[in-house]
């Protein structure tokens, strides 16, 4: 599967600014229990249903400096209480091409992960953007090698669908060439390695 980056000026605050760029529908699968990073999570989630977000529509755009990722996906009808909906894009590391993206990187070959988290429980339309390094499913730590281009994000629900924009340094995708998508249905208490992910890398043209 592949996806193209369109040249376009995007306003992070204008969720309609991707306009008529064609979306690519990406299917997601449950992050397997056996790749979870510790015994607790393996034991506790062995018999749990998760990975509720089955697909995401993705659009990519860039100006010369930034990559803009537009992700739209269905918002569960179950209200969120403890956990909020979230989605992320991660970038295949140079030597991680043979790894499956379902682990979102590994200790040996971490990937860069840009995550958007809905924080509307605090303030209407408040988005949180996280610039992370991922060493495995949920093994996320803040990216200590961030460049000068800050990861930003925005999102809102329109007609039962999340419309999210995440943006960061264009270099990330230029280096990686392959990306993965990970999504969490907060109403199902999904977060960290409990979510759904692309089962194969997506080539970026």
């Amino acid at each position: 599967m592949s996806i193209k980056i369109h040249e376009k000026n995007i306003d992070i605050n204008d969720l309609a600014s991707f306009g008529d760029i064609p979306a690519v529908n990406i299917e997601l699968t449950k992050i397997p229990v056996d790749v979870q990073p510790n015994k607790y999570i393996k034991n506790a989630y062995a018999n749990k249903e998760y990975g509720q977000i089955k697909s995401v529509d993705v659009k990519l755009a860039s100006d010369k400096e930034r990559l803009y990722v537009n992700l739209t996906f269905a918002d569960s009808e179950i209200p969120n209480t403890e956990f909020q909906d979230s989605v992320g894009i991660f970038f295949c590391s140079q030597d991680g091409q043979s790894d499956s993206p379902v682990t979102i990187g590994s200790l040996e070959r971490p990937t860069l992960l840009w995550q958007w988290k809905n924080r509307t429980e605090l303030q209407k339309n408040l988005s949180q953007a996280k610039d992370l390094e991922s060493f495995g499913p949920g093994v996320f730590i803040p990216n200590t090698n961030s460049g000068s281009v800050e990861v930003v994000a925005n999102g809102e629900v329109v007609n039962g669908k999340w419309n999210v924009i995440i943006s960061g340094d264009l270099l990330a995708v230029q280096k990686a060439k392959k990306i993965g998508i990970v999504a969490w249905d907060g109403s199902n208490n999904e977060r960290a390695g409990i979510g759904s992910v692309t089962s194969s890398w997506i080539e970026v043209d």
């Binding site: 506790a44 605090l122 949920g138």
Partner: protein
């Protein structure tokens, strides 16, 4: 993929331990307030009470925590429930302005604002003094609780980001809040449900064993402010200290729910109670007011030996014999409670400038 497994059990490192003597606890919540005013007054911390005292039997805080799972079963980390914001309740905002200055008179009264999230339906001490049993043989007692700073901290092993760690200096179980991603597996795994979530900062938080105080040889705030003089603090392996004697020698200080398998470092002297009364209101000398099986459900089977020992020593004291154990429990000198942590904080130079220097040194040491 490399497994990030259970944390290494760090036997042999210094461990600060505490013993709470439940026979002195009056449930006043001074420990809770002492902790609250010092550590959890920032936004997102309103509902956080790292130290709480609850009435037992009861649902406590978070509501029904003893039925929420977690800990170890058969040596394996067991599934646990992540306590919700509503199950903790509290963190209320009152309508002062409306009542006092709103010009509405008696039509409004002071009450927590209902934000539609069920947080006004429970609180950190909601079932205070309710207890169990039947009058006049009802029973209850107070149980102060904080993070157990376990020797086998299941929370540490449940964190996917490796944000949590057990300090080698004092055994405090902490979290690097710069790393924490708010995934809350620690809250699920902790069987004592003593971890809170900061919804503003998107991180979990819990009792830090007052490590900045320990670093200055000052006792933790809950212990030092306790007017009931019931909290012993010290190094667990100090054979000359009261904690070692109470826990290991006399075996009257017991961990809470030892079956959870995390090896707590907070211990309790189990509660005595007044005589039960028979139906004709005569004294029942045989049946303890607090059912022993209830105490066993909290403190494990060792509680029976501890109770017998305690009662036996009390009998000695009433016959004017000296009991080393009871003399230890009396605590004639307040500072004797605190082992090596007897420094008066007001004597410290903790100006922000000075603390910044300390922090700089710590940072250098860690790097």
């Amino acid at each position: 993929m490399t497994e990030i497994g259970q944390s290494k059990v760090q036997h042999g490192n210094p461990q600060v331990a505490m013993v709470f003597d439940l026979n002195k606890c009056m449930g006043c919540q001074t420990c809770s307030i002492a902790c609250k005013v010092l550590w959890t007054t920032e936004p997102g911390e309103e509902h956080q009470w790292w130290m709480t005292t609850n009435t037992q039997p009861g649902l406590g805080t978070p509501k029904g925590w003893e039925d929420m799972g977690g800990g170890y079963k058969n040596g394996e980390p067991a599934e646990g429930h992540q306590p919700t914001r509503a199950e903790f309740g509290g963190g209320w905002e009152f309508n002062y302005d409306e009542v006092f200055y709103g010009g509405k008179g008696r039509s409004v009264h002071l009450a927590p604002k209902d934000k539609g999230d069920d947080t006004t339906k429970w609180g950190m001490n909601w079932d205070e003094d309710q207890g169990s049993g039947e009058y006049p043989n009802s029973y209850y007692f107070y149980l102060p609780r904080l993070c157990n700073h376990c020797t086998k901290p299941v929370c540490v092993s449940a964190c996917p980001s490796k944000a949590m760690y057990k300090r080698t200096e004092d055994g405090a179980v902490l979290r690097d809040e710069d790393i924490c991603q708010g995934s809350r597996f620690c809250m699920e795994a902790c069987p004592y449900k003593k971890i809170y979530f900061n919804y503003v900062r998107d991180i979990a938080q819990h009792c830090i064993l007052c490590f900045p105080r320990l670093e200055e040889n000052v006792a933790p705030a809950c212990a030092r402010q306790c007017p009931g003089r019931l909290v012993f603090v010290g190094m667990l392996d100090d054979e000359n200290g009261p904690i070692h004697k109470l826990v290991n020698e006399w075996e009257i200080a017991l961990p809470l729910h030892p079956e959870y398998g995390t090896e707590p470092n907070i211990f309790y002297i189990p509660p005595l109670s007044p005589y039960r009364l028979n139906e004709d209101m005569s004294i029942d000398e045989e049946t303890p007011r607090i059912p022993p099986e209830y105490l066993e459900s909290l403190f494990g089977p060792k509680v029976h030996g501890a109770m017998a020992k305690l009662k036996g020593e009390l009998e000695k004291a009433r016959n004017n014999e000296t009991s080393e154990m009871l003399e230890t429990l009396i605590v004639y000198n307040w500072l004797d409670l605190f082992g090596p942590f007897t420094t008066d904080p007001s004597k410290l130079d903790r100006t922000p400038d000075k603390v910044a220097v300390t922090i700089g040194a710590t940072r250098n040491k860690q790097n």
